[in-house]
Homo-oligomer: 328 residues x 2
Amino acid sequence: MPDSQFDVLGIGNAIVDVLARADEAFLAQHSLVKGTMRLIDEHQARQLYEEMQSGVESSGGSVANTMAGIAALGGRAAFIGRVRNDQLGDIFRHDITAIGVHFSTPAATSGPATAKCLILVTPDAERTMNTYLGASTALGPSDVDPDLVAASKITYLEGYLWDPEEAKKAFIQASGLAHRSGRKVALSLSDPFCVDRHRREFRELVAEEIDILLANEEEIKSLYEVEHFDEALQLVRGECELSVLTRSAAGSVIVNGEETHVINAAPVDEVLDATGAGDLFAAGFLHGYANDFDLVRAARLGARTAAEAISHFGARPETDLKAFIEHL
Amino acid sequence: MPDSQFDVLGIGNAIVDVLARADEAFLAQHSLVKGTMRLIDEHQARQLYEEMQSGVESSGGSVANTMAGIAALGGRAAFIGRVRNDQLGDIFRHDITAIGVHFSTPAATSGPATAKCLILVTPDAERTMNTYLGASTALGPSDVDPDLVAASKITYLEGYLWDPEEAKKAFIQASGLAHRSGRKVALSLSDPFCVDRHRREFRELVAEEIDILLANEEEIKSLYEVEHFDEALQLVRGECELSVLTRSAAGSVIVNGEETHVINAAPVDEVLDATGAGDLFAAGFLHGYANDFDLVRAARLGARTAAEAISHFGARPETDLKAFIEHL
C-alpha cells in the first residue's frame, strides 16, 4: 500500500443519540421491532420523544462510533458527515474531535436540525432505534475530499448512507476514489430493514465494489433472503473478498476466500446496553486489519471492544481501549 | 397544614449537564477547585468545552435534580426555572416532565442559550462544576406563580439563585408567599464558594426566613466561617428551626431545636460519580418530611437515594426509588 495518513476514513450519518429506558409494552404500543432501526420524520420524532422517558444524550452514528473506537484504540481515524450549526451539532463535533478523530466537514447553515436517534433500551439490554435523519441528508459528493480518501488505507461506509439520496452519491464517489488510489473499501450492512430497503443494490455493491463486508447474522440473512446463517455464509463467500459476520453472544465468523475462522465472543460481566456493539466490533476489527494483524487477532480485538460497549449505557467507548491490544 | 397539590415546589436554575472524565492534571491546569462550582461566561464555557474530553449530556440543576428525585419516589413535585427555546431547553423540559414533575415556566424566546454546566469527573468520583448560567438569568419574580407556592407544602430554593439578580428577587418573593400561605421554606446552601459570595445575606436569610436548611459540611463551615463541623452545628442550632447537615461518607446530622440525630450513610458498592449526591439526599429527606416521616426516617431515605445517585454517572435517578421507601 502507498503511505497513508489515516488507517480508516469513515463516511456516515452524523447523529446525536438520545437513550432512554423503555419496557416491552412501550415498544408494542408504538409498533416498534426490537433490535432494529427505523427512519422517522420530524413530526414522528417530536411525538415519540414526548412519550419517552427522560434520557441521556451522547454522540452516535454507526460509522462515527466506529471511528471513535479506532481513535480510542490509538488508530488514525477520520470522519465525513453532516451536522447543522446547532447545539446538537456542536456536541457531535466536540465529541468526535475530542476523542481524536479528524473531522472537518462543515456544518450546514440552513435546513433541518442535526440528526438524532431516539434509542429505547429494554430491560433485556436490546436497543430499538428511531432515526430522524435531519442534517445528515445534506451530505453529498462535494463533501468527499479526494485527498482524504487517497490518504486513508480503508474507506468505511455504512449501508444507512443509502437512505438519503445525495449521501448515496457521496458513497459511490468515495468508493471509486478509494479504489483508484489503491485503497480498500469496507461496508457495514447497518440493519436488516436497511438491507430490505436496498437489497438489489446492496447485492450488486457487495459483489462488485466492496473489499471488506461487515454484517451481523440478521443482515446477511436478509441480504441473501435465506433462513439459515450457514447458507448466507456460503453465498457471501463467492461474492466478496473478505466478510466479517457477527452473531452476538455466538461470536463471529470470518470468511476469506476458502478460509473460514470462527471466533468466540469476549466474556462480559453484565450486558447493560447493546447500543454500539456492532460499531465497536467493527472498530476493533478494522483497526487490527489496517495495522496488519492476522484476521483472527483482528476479530478478537473486535470481540473485546464490542464487549466493552455492551457493558455500559451508550455507544462510545468509556475505557482506555489501547490496553485491549496489549492483552490480546 | 392546609390541603396541598404538591409536596415540594422547587425553584432553581434550569441547567443541562455535560459530564466528562478529567484527570487531576486537567483541573490543576485550569485552576479548578475539586468538588466545587464556579460560574463561567459564554467565552469561558466555549474554551473549556473545547479542551474537555467527549461527554454525555443530561438534564441537571441542583433543585431540579431534587424535584426529579421526589417524583421518582412517588412524591408530588413542581419546578420553576427558565430555559431558552433551543435544543438543550427542549431536553431539559422533556426530562423533568417525563419523570413526572409539574413544569410550566415558559421558555425564553430571546437572550442567552439554555444554561449548561460542564462537569469534570475525576477518577476519585468527585465532580467539579463550571456553570454558564445562560437563560437561567431570565428567571424573575413574575415567574413565581402565587397559586403554585400556596398549593405546595414546601417551597425549596437553592443558594445558587442568589447569583442572578432577578432570580434572587424571585426567591424572596416565593419565600414571602409561602409563609403567608402557612407553608414551609427550605434552602440548600448549594456550594461553599456560593456561600462565600453571599455570606452576609445567607446568614440573615437562615436566621429570619428559612424553616429547613440543607447544607453539607463545607457549606455550613463556610457560612459561619468556622474550622470545625461541630462549631457550625452549634451555631446553626440557635439560628434555624431545622437543619439537615450532610457529611458524605460520614453520614448526616439533623439539628432540630435541642434534638440532634446522627444518621449513617447508606452503603454503596462502587462510588462512580458524586454528581447529584446532595441533590438526591435532599429529595429523600424532603419527600419523607412532607409525608410526615419522623426526622430520622426521612434522613435515612435521603441517605439511600444519595447512595443510588453516586453509584452511576449523572445526577438524575436511574432506578425505581419507590422501592427504597418500602425497605426503610
